[in-house]
């Protein structure tokens, strides 16, 4: 079966007064129906920009899609007109953004905002849409849905607002739901509830999900496949267990190692990745992580490593590396 989404050589740049920012560089991957893909990376990794550019949500200018194809159900989204994309967004691809405070319109009731895509895409009548809104609010676990639907965003807590955002995201039964740092602004206990909700919704309606986050813990619990991005490139990708337990790219390894694993003060020192995030205005040559990578070879600095199948791991585990991370780590550990 053809994948639901296939991204090929997507390259996005922004022309700014400070120079051209190479935000997304040659990103290719595919996503099967029903799969949950967790994309991890920090600011400037290209994780959000690549998703927004797929559906024409970056401002052009300054943004510019340099090349690439994004095949969604066999159709190239990048070749569609804004009018055609209008039909895709919200209906076939749903979105949930980071900040539920600014993503909702404060002067419209929750009902109006959830009903908008329903009325536009399906031509539902007011009463049909109203019924569906209540259904959706119940689905995302908002108690007393019929009454709550007539309230305004300020009457909802942060967690409840994010549930409303998810309700809007899934309102048209999209084939693909893209969530960009959807729980980052929430308290941990609320985040836990939202993640439970998403797992539950996946079971109930089988949506394909792209979950973009900087939190490795969130990905560990939610995703089937994880994709690690850095400097606009995919550094590593594969089934979560393989990537978390047997990382083959030095950035993935450093990121996992630098997280607190229950260590204590004075007993263990946190591993720290040296250096600073890359300057994206520089021409993207070589491995973007090379300047911070203790295992980098001369080749890493001049030639970009391809995202290749990893030897001795499970199928679908791919990493971009000229060095052999396992051998390098083994070598450092035998030294005194």
């Amino acid at each position: 079966m053809a994948p639901l989404l296939e991204v090929r050589n997507l390259t996005v740049a922004f022309d700014t007064p400070a120079g051209t920012v190479h935000a997304v560089n040659d990103v290719s991957y595919s996503l099967e129906e029903g799969e949950t893909l967790g994309i991890v990376g920090e600011s400037g990794s290209g994780k959000s920009v690549h998703a927004l550019s797929m559906v024409g949500l970056i401002a052009t200018p300054p943004g510019r899609i340099v090349r690439g194809e994004v095949l969604f159900n066999g159709r190239d989204l990048l070749a569609l007109s804004q009018r055609e994309l209008f039909e895709v967004r919200g209906k076939e691809i749903g979105f949930v953004f980071q900040d539920p405070m600014t993503s909702l319109n404060p002067v419209l009731t929750i009902e109006r905002q959830i009903a908008e895509p329903l009325r536009r895409h399906f031509g539902m009548s007011v009463s049909q849409a109203r019924r569906r809104v209540v259904e959706l609010l119940e689905l995302v676990g908002i108690p007393d849905a019929a009454r709550r639907a007539r309230q305004y965003p300020h009457e909802f807590s942060g967690g409840m607002r994010q549930r409303v955002m998810i309700a809007i995201g899934i309102s048209c039964n999209p084939k693909l739901l893209i969530a960009d740092e959807a729980t980052t602004a929430l308290d941990v206990t609320v985040q836990a509830q939202i993640l439970d909700l998403v797992r539950d919704l996946k079971k109930k309606i089988g949506t394909t999900v792209i979950w973009i986050t900087h939190d490795m813990g969130v990905v560990a619990g939610l995703a089937d496949t994880v994709q690690v991005m850095y400097g606009g490139r995919i550094m590593e990708r594969g089934p979560v267990r393989a990537v978390f337990h047997d990382p083959r790219n030095a950035y993935t390894w450093g990121l996992l190692k630098s997280l607190p694993h229950g260590g204590r003060r004075g007993v263990t020192r946190l591993y720290q990745i040296p250096g600073n995030p890359p300057d994206l205005t520089k021409e993207p040559i070589g491995d973007p992580f090379a300047p911070r990578n203790p295992f980098a070879t001369e080749r890493c600095r001049i030639e970009t490593p391809p995202l290749g199948e990893v030897e001795g791991s499970v199928a679908g585990h791919r990493a971009a590396a000229w060095y052999d991370l396992r051998a390098e780590i083994a070598a450092t550990q035998v030294q005194p």
Partner: protein, 305 residues
């Protein structure tokens, strides 16, 4: 680290901060919000106390009121045993030198029109601690080195720096006056994951080198264990549990602490798949007004239910 018979460096007793409650022009009064409600704790010299809780728990307000950036509505703040609550601006000035603060947003805290060198040197100027421009620059250069920044960056402006570097600049300014105590309010929250560990380690190195005492405010419990000797958990303005890190993490007693700990995502798919976070309904479990902290172990206290 902290002997029980030692005078605490910083101590707050029954600290309260209430917003609102003022009389309205026509009848009634504004609803009062007890952001900080009867909070007491000591911090020993050289100790790091973690203050955790969710948004709206009052943890940041506690830090701000402790430093008297806002006036408390009740309670006392003691520094080295002296009550410094409500002192005039002039009387507080020497204490301000000793007690510094670092905020969450490393960019908003910087002055975009000042070079970072001027920014770090400004406190030295305010407190007349350098006899000449040359001496000040030398001291700023050594501060830069101390926080892991190249002194050649002194002439640059904040926008030329990454988030982690900006936070290093803020830390350099905070330690410029050789303070004894620093309130760090979510200093790593806004930083990239690969940078957080660098800053956490820097906080520790500076403590070891300069003997600093910290109040470390965070909503993320996972880093707390690396940094703190003790932790206080806040809920709706009250401390519901306080104790040594190990006791809180290994043997949490309050239902809210348990829920908070169970909600932290673990970066391991095998653990994370089966993790079921505990649910704690804040609205149904608000701390009773008259409840007090009761000892449950060595220096470990829990708010009675």
């Amino acid at each position: 680290m902290s002997e029980s018979n030692m005078t605490p460096l910083v101590s707050v007793q029954n600290l309260c901060k209430t917003y609102g409650g003022e009389k309205r022009l026509f009848g009634g009064s504004m609803p009062a919000l007890k952001a900080v409600n009867n909070v007491s704790f000591d911090i020993a010299p050289g100790e790091t106390l973690g203050l955790v809780g969710e948004s709206g728990s009052g943890k940041s307000t506690t830090g701000r009121v402790l430093l008297q950036l806002e006036a408390p509505t009740g309670g006392d703040i003691l520094y080295k045993g002296e009550n410094i609550t409500g002192l005039s601006k002039a009387m507080l000035k020497p204490y301000r030198r000793d007690m510094q603060v670092i905020f969450q947003d490393p960019y908003a805290s910087l002055n975009p029109r000042m070079t970072v060198g001027e920014f770090v040197g400004e406190p030295l100027e305010v407190h007349n601690l350098a006899s000449s421009r040359r001496e000040r620059e030398d001291r700023v250069a050594s501060l830069f080195t101390k926080v892991g920044l190249d002194p050649s960056f002194m002439k640059r402006y904040p926008h030329e720096f990454s988030g982690g570097q900006r936070q290093r600049v803020n830390i350099a300014r905070a330690i410029a006056l050789n303070p004894a105590f620093i309130v760090a309010d979510e200093p790593i929250t806004a930083l990239d994951v690969s940078i957080q560990a660098q800053i956490v380690n820097l906080f520790q190195d500076l403590q070891d080198e300069l003997g600093l005492t910290y109040l470390f405010i965070a909503h993320d419990l996972s880093m707390i264990r690396y940094l703190c000797h003790r932790v206080a958990v806040m809920l709706r303005g009250r401390i519901v549990e306080i104790g040594p890190c190990d006791a809180i993490f290994e043997n949490p007693q309050h239902a809210y602490t348990k829920a908070l700990l169970s909600a932290i995502p673990v970066p391991d798919p095998d653990i994370e798949r089966d993790r079921r976070p505990l649910v704690f309904d804040v609205g149904a479990n608000l701390p009773r007004e008259e409840a007090v902290l009761r000892p449950v172990g060595n220096r470990h206290f829990v708010l009675e239910v």
